[in-house]
């Protein structure tokens, strides 16, 4: 029962958002039913729709988990965007350096490692870089008490500008008008699901990073609810003073939670760099970091909820393209309206919960 009601209120928020969105569609001058059929149908068609929905959901699972872990410790990590940028660049950098990249006779690399060594190294570098970038504001919070919201936002600017600088002046192939690094070594590519699961076309960019995302959901659950560290983090989030009184090193927990959060955000780089573009591409993130906050909120900071919320947002992303292309008036902005209204309704959840309880109480008293 407890779990069901946890699911129910976000569901009501989603349905309510769709109704409000439908009214907007009606005002704009299209048929809301057809528009929603297009939106949902294109997101759930097999194989392209589902493939792309899961592909879009992958980075959001990572960022949603990242925000959720920090939130469980009472921290608001708004810096996932910057963390995933530096991590993606770091993953591309190490895969160029150790992947034997040669472009136009210029050797960019130090060594040429086999895939078995290079892929784990590149993944680890992405995670560690994200963790490092998030641990800085974590440390500042723990040591000096400066607010993590301000610091993580500032770290976004620094991180995104820094990697943009490195891309432009050191790792772009000469003459390339597009802001991207040289291609990473072939050994660093992680396979698309279509290449080893029969029935999935290889053209879909859905890759092993999606499986890593599912694994991350499981690991985050175990970490938060089945380990001592997770307990300490949650205790710190619930009541720092009580946690400290209970013998938990609160400051250490803050740095740890931020580092885990940043590491999860950094895993977006695995999906983008090792699994899709095979290079670092300036501006690759469709603000995954910020959408991650909404995903965590809708998913109630629980791995299962985050997974489902990321699927929903992935569906909206996928369907939004079709709504933009194949309706007469509605543009892709409808999806943003829907996302915003979902978040709004989730935020007003207390109101729903209150009226729902009153409603069921009334019913019960009549019986």
């Amino acid at each position: 029962m407890k779990h069901l009601s946890e699911l129910l209120f976000p569901l009501i928020a989603v349905i309510a958002a769709f109704i409000v969105g439908g009214i907007f569609v009606l005002i704009i001058g299209d048929d809301p039913i057809l528009t929603y059929q297009l939106l949902i149908g294109s997101a759930l068609s097999w194989p392209d729709g589902i493939g792309y929905t899961l592909f879009y959901a992958t980075p959001l699972i990572f960022t949603g988990l990242a925000v959720a872990v920090a939130f469980r410790c009472g921290l608001l990590n708004i810096g996932t965007e910057g963390q995933l940028y530096v991590a993606a660049f770091a993953a591309a950098w190490i895969s160029i350096k150790l992947g034997g990249t040669v472009v136009g006779g210029v050797n960019y690399s130090w060594a040429s490692l086999p895939a078995l060594a290079l892929v784990p190294i590149a993944c680890l570098v992405a995670i560690l870089m994200g963790a490092f970038w998030a641990a800085i504001p974590g440390y500042l919070k723990a040591r000096f008490g400066s607010h993590e919201v301000i610091n993580t936002i500032m770290m976004n600017f620094i991180g995104i500008a820094l990697v943009s600088y490195f891309t432009q002046y050191y790792y772009k192939t000469p003459g390339d008008p597009i802001m991207e690094t040289a291609e990473i070594g072939v050994a660093a590519h992680i396979p698309r699901l279509g290449s080893f699961i029969p029935g999935i076309p290889t053209r879909l960019p859905l890759n092993v990073a999606f499986l890593l995302a599912i694994l991350a959901c499981v690991l985050v659950y175990i970490f938060l609810w089945k380990t001592k560290w997770g307990y300490e983090i949650r205790a710190t989030g619930a009541n720092p003073s009580a946690a400290e009184y209970g013998g938990i090193a609160v400051r250490k927990q803050i740095v740890l939670a931020m580092a885990v959060s940043g590491g999860l955000a950094g895993m977006v780089g695995i999906n983008e760099v090792l699994g899709y573009r095979y290079r670092y591409y300036e501006g690759f993130s469709a603000s995954y970091g910020f959408t991650g906050i909404a995903v965590a909120l809708l998913g109630r900071n629980h791995p299962v909820g985050v997974f489902l919320a990321a699927l929903l947002f992935g569906m909206l992303n996928r369907g939004g393209i079709f709504v933009d292309a194949f309706t007469d008036h509605v543009s892709k902005d409808l999806v943003e309206v829907l996302q915003a209204v979902v978040i709004l309704f989730v935020a007003c959840e207390a109101f729903f919960r209150g009226s729902f309880n009153r409603f069921s109480l009334l019913r019960r008293s009549k019986v």
């Binding site: 059929q37 392209d48 879009y56 597009i178 501006g283 933009d324 292309a325 069921s360 019960r364």
Partner: protein, 346 residues
């Protein structure tokens, strides 16, 4: 107990409705007329209202939609991860032509076009070597040559300016053509070249564009050609600052891509126009006539793909004598008597 059953019911309803919807979507699209040719256009991140490149492409397809029996659909991807599925969305549905706007889309289109050999693709400003892709390339150096001639003949100081946006081969093409045209008129003329930057931000920095223009003017330049997108508008402000004497501006600027003569009337000598709209229109026309072909499509002076803009704003700024000479040079370029260096050919 009642609460629980209500919740379960709501859940079930949603599940059923979600599962049923994909089944009926196929019918909902039938209002698209199947007998017509389908054209899809995928814009760059800038979107269709950028008043320049994307807008010109949009005008072209809109005009084609009015004149020919086609179904036109467009996508503004908004972020780089949406470009590929947008192209695939059109290709999956069997669109006859998918147009990509801007060189940044070329690696993506190359991947998509390989998967759909029966769909025609076209990329503007990019080059893809596939039989089903038309690469639409402009000979900007030819148009730049002509505006270079106009500038050299109009200049009083013997010093010209060139402001490029991003320092890339595509923009060098403008600079080289412009310089050659100017030197053809006056071998001793000096052309000062500056670039706004080396990142994408270089297209959108009017402040730096104005600074560069003022610096060039202080070195004696009296006519400045901009190929810098939005940054070029800074140079427009700079020349305006020097005002007019006896009704004639002291310093001039030359616009780019679309006809910018009316942006600051009297201060814009001419514009080096790139007729993206015409080219896109022609492309659809060829598709409708069944004459669509892949490969290189090069648009120079001959095809009316590039040129210089003359209208009521600048007809008094350029002497008839100059125009005559420029028209002669244009004919010579078309005949091949004058070969303008293409900076992108190594």
């Amino acid at each position: 107990m009642r609460f629980r059953s209500l919740a379960t019911l709501a859940l079930l309803c949603l599940l059923v409705s979600v599962l049923l919807t994909p089944a009926c979507t196929t019918q909902s699209r039938e209002r698209d007329d199947k007998s017509k040719l389908h054209v899809g256009i995928v814009f760059d991140i800038g979107g269709k209202d950028d008043r320049s490149f994307n807008a010109a492409a949009w005008q072209g397809v809109k005009r084609a939609e009015k004149d020919f029996p086609i179904v036109l659909r467009d996508v503004e991807p908004g972020n780089p991860t949406s470009i590929e599925p947008a192209m695939r969305a059109f290709a999956e549905r069997g669109y006859n032509l998918v147009i990509g706007v801007g060189f940044a889309q070329s690696p993506i289109m190359e991947r998509v076009a390989k998967d759909y050999p029966n769909v025609n693709f076209a990329i503007i400003d990019g080059v893809i070597d596939l039989p089903n892709v038309a690469s639409l390339v402009f000979m900007e150096h030819q148009g730049s040559y002509l505006v270079g001639m106009i500038a050299a003949r109009t200049s009083k100081t013997g010093v010209l300016g060139f402001i490029g946006g991003m320092d890339i081969p595509l923009i060098h093409r403008f600079a080289v053509g412009y310089t050659e045209g100017a030197k053809a008129v006056n071998p001793n003329i000096q052309v000062i070249q500056n670039y706004v930057g080396v990142t994408d931000a270089a297209w959108n920095n009017p402040g730096k564009g104005k600074e560069l223009a003022l610096a060039q003017i202080s070195k004696g330049a009296d006519i400045i050609f901009t190929a810098a997108g939005n940054s070029g508008l800074g140079a427009f402000d700079a020349v305006e600052q020097y005002g007019k004497q006896n009704g004639r501006a002291q310093r001039f600027v030359i616009g780019v891509d679309s006809n910018q003569n009316g942006v600051k009337p009297g201060f814009v000598l001419t514009s080096m126009v790139k007729r993206v709209d015409n080219v896109v229109y022609q492309l659809v026309q060829e598709l409708v006539a069944g004459r669509f072909t892949g490969g290189f499509h090069v648009y120079g002076l001959k095809e009316d793909g590039v040129g210089y803009a003359m209208d009521q704003f600048n007809q008094e700024l350029i002497s008839p004598d100059t125009l005559k000479q420029v028209e002669e040079a244009k004919q010579k370029i078309i005949n091949g008597e004058i070969q303008v260096t293409d900076a992108m050919k190594k």
